[in-house]
C-alpha cells in the first residue's frame, strides 16, 4: 500500500497539456448533455486496433475523462455509443438492440475507418456494412486506427469542453 502511494507521488502527473478546443459545429444535443457524456463502447467486428487506441485515449496520458467523458458498462447508463469495426452479420442485431437500449437523447460515434466505410474489410462475406447502414451515426472519427488525439478531439465535440 505504502509502495503504491510512493509510486504515485514519484510518478506525478503524466497527462499531456490540453490541446485547443476543436472547431466545427457540435451535434445539437450537446447542450442537453451539459458537458457530461457517458459512453458505451460496442465492438461490431473490429480488429481491436481501435480498442487499443480507445484505451489509450482514456488512459493517463491523453486522459479523456478530464473533458467530461466516461466509459460505462451498460447502454442503460450511456448517452452515446462508441462503435468500432465494420458491422458483421452476428453483431448487426446486437448493435441495433444496444442502440435501442440507450435512453433518449442518444448519440452514435463511429470510431475508425472500418466503422465509417468498412475500411479494408469492405465486401468481405461476413460484413453487412458500415455503422451508418445499421444505426444513425452522429459523429465520425477517421483513421486506421485513429490516433488517441483524434478520439479525444471527437469526444470533446460531444462534451463541448
Amino acid at each position: 500500500m505504502l509502495d503504491l502511494w510512493r509510486k504515485i507521488r514519484r510518478t506525478g502527473r503524466v497527462a499531456e497539456p490540453a490541446p485547443p478546443m476543436p472547431t466545427g459545429e457540435p451535434p445539437s444535443v450537446t447542450a442537453v448533455l451539459a458537458g457530461s457524456v457517458q459512453l458505451r463502447h460496442v465492438d461490431a467486428g473490429s480488429c481491436n486496433g481501435c480498442e487499443v487506441e480507445i484505451a489509450s485515449a482514456f488512459g493517463p496520458v491523453y486522459d479523456a475523462e478530464r473533458y467530461g467523458a466516461r466509459l460505462v458498462a451498460s447502454p442503460r447508463h450511456a448517452d452515446a455509443l462508441l462503435v468500432t469495426g465494420p458491422v458483421t452479420r452476428n453483431m448487426a442485431e446486437p448493435l441495433r438492440r444496444t442502440h435501442e437500449a440507450v435512453p433518449n437523447p442518444k448519440l452514435v460515434v463511429a470510431v475508425g475507418d472500418c466503422a465509417r466505410n468498412c475500411g479494408t474489410f469492405a465486401g468481405a462475406y461476413g460484413v453487412i456494412g458500415a455503422v451508418r447502414d445499421v444505426v444513425p451515426v452522429d459523429l465520425e472519427i477517421a483513421g486506421c486506427p485513429p490516433r488517441p488525439e483524434a478520439i479525444v478531439e471527437g469526444v470533446r465535440k460531444l462534451t463541448g469542453r
Partner: protein, 680 residues
C-alpha cells in the same frame, strides 16, 4: 373427567378407528378416511394439549393393558404443550394427506394404517407418566415412523438406505434412553415419574450426571443434534411429504421434551438440583448443531434435505434455550430460567408451524414436478401460485427477520442470553460468562445463515425461469393439499403477529419445568418481566406494511410523472435469455462455501479429456463438486469401518458347522458352571 382426558381418549379411539378403516376399506376410499381420521385425531390431541396447558390435569392408570407395569398416563402443562404442537401438525398433515397420498403412491394398506398410529404414539409420549409407558410409546413411535420412512421403497435404493440409517440410529438412541431411565427407576424403586421426581434431586452427583448424559444422548439422537444427526437429512426427505412434516415438526420435538422432562423435571434441575456442566453441555451442543445444521442447509441443493438440515439447526437453537434455562436454574436465577425456557418452547411451537408449512409446500412441488433438486426447479410462481405463496410465507417465517415467526422466539432467546451475562456472578459464573456471549454469537450467525438459506430455497426454487421441463409444466396441487398448507400458514401468521396468544401457555409449560414466575406479559406487546425489554410484533408488522405501502406508492407517483418507454429487457444484445444463464442453488451458495471452506472442506474434481491428436486440444472438461458432511466422514465412517472389520473377524468363528456351534454351547455352559462353582 377433564376436557383434556376426554379429548385424549377421543384421539386414541379416532386413531385406532382410522387405522382399522385403512385396513378394511378399498384403495379409493382409504385416503379420505385415513386423512380425515388423522386430522380429527390431531384436532382432539390439540384440544387435549391446550386444555392441559391451561390447567386441566389428568391421571389415568390402566394396570391391565400392558404386562408387568401397566400403562399410566398423566397430563401437565409441559407435556400438554408438546401434545398440542403434535396435534396441530397432525391436523395439517392429515388434511394434506387426503389428496397427497391419493396421487403419490403412499396409499398402500400398511402405510395408511400405520399413519394414524404414528400420530397417536407421538401424542402419548408426552402423556406417559411412567418409564414403562414412556418407553413403549417411544418405541411405537420409532417403529411406526420407520414404516412410514420406507413407504416409498419402490422409488429407489436410497429409500431403503435411509431406512437402515434411521432404524440403527433410532434404536441406539432408544437403548441409551432405556439404560438411563432404568438405572434411574431402579434407584427410585418405582417406575412412575412421581416417585422418580421425589428421588431425583437426592441422587448422588455421579449417578445423576450419568443418568442425564445417557438419556440426553438418546434424546439428542431423536432431535437430530450433532453428532447424532446423520439419520435426519437422510430419513426426513425420503418419507412421503406429510410424514416428513410430522417427523420434522413434531417427532424431533419429543427429543427436546425428553431432555426437559428428565433433566429439569425428574432430576430436579429446574428446582436448583443437578450440575451446571450438564446444561453447559446441552447449550454447547445446541449452539454447534445450530450453526452446523444451517451451514449444511445453505450448501444443500435438495429441497427436502435442506429442510431436514434446517430442522437440526432449529432444534439446536431450542437446546441453546434449554441449556441456558438449566444453567440459570442451577445457579438459582428463576426469572431468566423461565424466560430462556419459554423462548425455547416458543421456538418449538414456531418451528413446528413453519416446518410443517415448508414440508407440505415442498411435497406439493415434488408432486407437481417430480424433482426435489433446486437446480432443476424455478419458475413455479406462474404455475403454482398458492404453493409459491405458502413456501414464501414459510421461508419468511423460518428466517429470523421481522415479521417472521422465528423472529419472536429468537428475540426472546437472545434477550435471555444477553441478560444472563450480568447476573453470571453466582455459582457457575465463569461458565456462564464464557458461554453466554458465545451463544449469542452462534444464534446471530445462525440467524444470518438461515436468511441466506431460505432466500436460496425460495428464490432459486420458485422464482425466475423454470430450469427443467418438469418445472415448466408444473400445475397447482388439488385443494385438499392447499387446505393442509392453509392450516399451517394461518398458524404461522398468528404466531408471527400475535405471539402473545400462545405465550401464556408456553409460560405455563416452562413454569411447570423450572417453577419460575411469569417471565413475559402483555396482550399485544411482549413485555419481559424481571428484565427490561419489550417487543410488539403486531406494531412491527403494521409499521413494515405501512413502510412498504409508502415506498410502493412513492415509486408509483414518481413513475406516473415521467413518460414511460417500453423497451426490451437488456440482455446484452444477445438473447433470448435462457434458464441456463440463471443463478443455480450451487452457485448461490458458492461464496458462503468459500467463506466456510475450513469447516465444510468441499471436495472438487476436475477431469480434462484431451483429443488424441494433440494435448493442446480439449475434448471434454468434467467438473464435480461435493460438500460431504464432515462429521460423517470423520466420525461415522471410521466407526462403520471398525464394525465391518469386527464383523469379518467374527465370521471366522461362525463357519456354518453345526458341530462347532454345539461345541460353543457346551463350552459356554461348562465355563459358566465353573465360574459359579468358584465364586459361590
Amino acid at each position: 373427567m377433564s376436557v383434556a382426558a376426554v379429548a385424549l381418549g377421543a384421539a386414541g379411539v379416532l386413531a385406532v378407528l382410522s387405522s382399522l378403516a385403512a385396513i378394511v376399506l378399498s384403495a379409493p376410499l382409504r385416503p379420505a378416511a385415513v386423512g380425515m381420521g388423522t386430522a380429527l385425531t390431531g384436532l382432539a390431541g390439540a384440544v387435549s394439549g391446550v386444555d392441559a396447558v391451561l390447567g386441566g390435569s389428568m391421571s389415568v392408570a390402566l394396570p391391565g393393558v400392558l404386562p408387568l407395569a401397566g400403562v399410566s398416563l398423566a397430563l401437565d402443562p409441559l407435556g400438554g404443550l408438546f401434545i398440542a404442537v403434535t396435534g396441530g401438525v397432525a391436523l395439517a398433515a392429515g388434511i394434506y394427506g387426503i389428496s397427497y397420498s391419493r396421487s403419490h403412491g403412499a396409499n398402500g394398506r400398511g402405510v395408511q394404517a400405520v399413519f394414524p398410529l404414528f400420530v397417536l404414539a407421538m401424542l402419548l409420549v408426552p402423556a406417559a407418566s411412567s418409564v414403562g409407558t414412556f418407553l413403549v410409546c417411544w418405541e411405537l413411535m420409532a417403529l411406526t415412523s420407520l414404516l412410514l420412512v420406507v413407504a416409498e421403497h419402490r422409488r429407489g435404493p436410497e429409500v431403503a438406505r435411509a431406512g437402515r440409517w434411521y432404524v440403527v440410529m433410532t434404536h441406539l438412541g432408544f437403548v441409551a434412553v432405556l439404560i438411563g431411565l432404568l438405572v434411574f427407576a431402579a434407584r427410585a424403586g418405582d417406575d412412575s415419574f412421581r416417585a422418580m421426581r421425589e428421588v431425583g434431586r437426592h441422587l448422588s452427583p455421579g449417578l445423576a450426571g450419568l443418568v442425564f448424559v445417557v438419556t440426553s444422548v438418546g434424546f439428542a439422537s431423536k432431535a437430530g443434534i450433532l453428532p447424532l444427526h446423520a439419520w435426519l437429512p437422510r430419513a426426513h426427505p425420503e418419507a412421503p411429504s406429510h410424514v416428513s412434516a410430522l417427523m420434522s415438526a413434531a417427532m424431533v420435538n419429543l427429543g427436546v421434551y425428553g431432555i426437559v422432562r428428565v433433566g429439569l423435571d425428574l432430576l430436579g434441575s429446574g428446582a436448583g438440583a443437578g450440575a451446571g456442566w450438564w446444561w453447559s453441555l446441552v447449550l454447547g451442543l445446541g449452539a454447534v448443531s445450530a450453526v452446523y445444521g444451517i451451514l449444511q442447509a445453505a450448501m444443500d441443493t435438495d429441497l427436502k434435505r435442506l429442510l431436514g438440515q434446517s430442522t437440526t439447526e432449529n432444534m439446536g437453537l431450542v437446546l441453546v434455550g434449554v441449556g441456558a434455562a438449566g444453567l440459570f436454574a442451577t445457579s438459582g436465577n428463576r426469572v431468566l430460567a423461565g424466560l430462556a425456557l419459554a423462548a425455547a418452547l416458543l421456538h418449538v411451537v414456531n418451528h413446528a408451524a413453519f416446518k410443517t408449512l415448508l414440508f407440505l409446500a415442498a411435497g406439493s412441488v415434488l408432486r407437481a414436478t417430480g424433482t426435489r433438486d433446486l437446480d432443476a426447479l424455478g419458475g413455479l410462481r406462474s404455475g403454482m401460485p398458492w404453493t409459491t405463496g405458502a413456501f414464501g410465507l414459510g421461508a419468511l417465517a423460518a428466517s429470523a427477520l421481522p415479521p417472521g415467526t422465528a423472529f419472536v422466539s429468537e428475540w426472546l432467546l437472545l434477550q435471555a442470553l444477553i441478560h444472563g451475562l450480568p447476573t453470571a456472578g453466582g455459582s457457575g459464573g465463569t461458565t456462564a460468562a464464557i458461554a453466554m456471549p458465545l451463544a449469542v454469537a452462534a444464534v446471530a450467525l445462525t440467524a444470518g445463515l438461515a436468511v441466506a438459506t431460505f432466500v436460496k430455497a425460495f428464490g432459486i426454487g420458485f422464482l425466475a425461469k423454470p430450469r427443467s421441463a418438469g418445472a415448466e409444466h408444473a400445475r397447482e396441487s388439488p385443494p385438499g393439499m392447499l387446505a393442509g398448507m392453509g392450516v399451517a400458514g394461518v398458524a404461522c401468521v398468528v404466531l408471527a403477529v400475535l405471539p402473545t396468544v400462545v405465550l401464556s401457555g408456553v409460560e405455563a409449560a416452562a413454569g411447570a419445568a423450572v417453577g419460575g414466575a411469569e417471565a413475559v406479559s402483555g396482550a399485544l406487546t411482549v413485555r419481559l418481566v424481571g428484565v427490561t425489554g419489550e417487543l410488539s410484533p403486531l406494531m412491527l408488522t403494521l409499521a413494515l406494511l405501512a413502510a412498504l405501502v409508502m415506498v410502493v406508492g412513492a415509486v408509483r407517483v414518481v413513475a406516473a410523472r415521467r413518460t414511460a418507454r417500453t423497451a426490451r429487457l437488456w440482455d446484452c444484445g444477445g438473447g433470448p435469455m435462457s434458464a441456463r444463464m440463471e443463478y443455480t442453488a450451487t452457485s448461490f451458495a458458492e461464496p458462503l462455501q468459500r467463506v466456510f471452506d475450513d469447516v465444510l472442506r468441499p471436495e472438487q474434481d476436475v477431469d480434462v479429456t484431451h483429443h488424441e491428436e494433440s494435448r493442446y486440444l480439449v475434448r471434454a472438461v468434467e467438473y464435480r463438486r461435493k460438500v460431504p458432511d464432515r462429521i460423517e466422514r470423520r466420525l461415522y465412517e471410521p466407526v462403520l469401518a471398525a464394525v465391518a472389520t469386527w464383523g469379518r473377524a467374527g465370521r471366522r468363528l461362525a463357519t456354518g458347522s453345526v458341530h462347532r456351534y454345539l461345541g460353543y454351547g457346551f463350552y459356554t455352559v461348562c465355563s459358566l458352571l465353573i465360574l459359579l462353582a468358584v465364586t459361590r
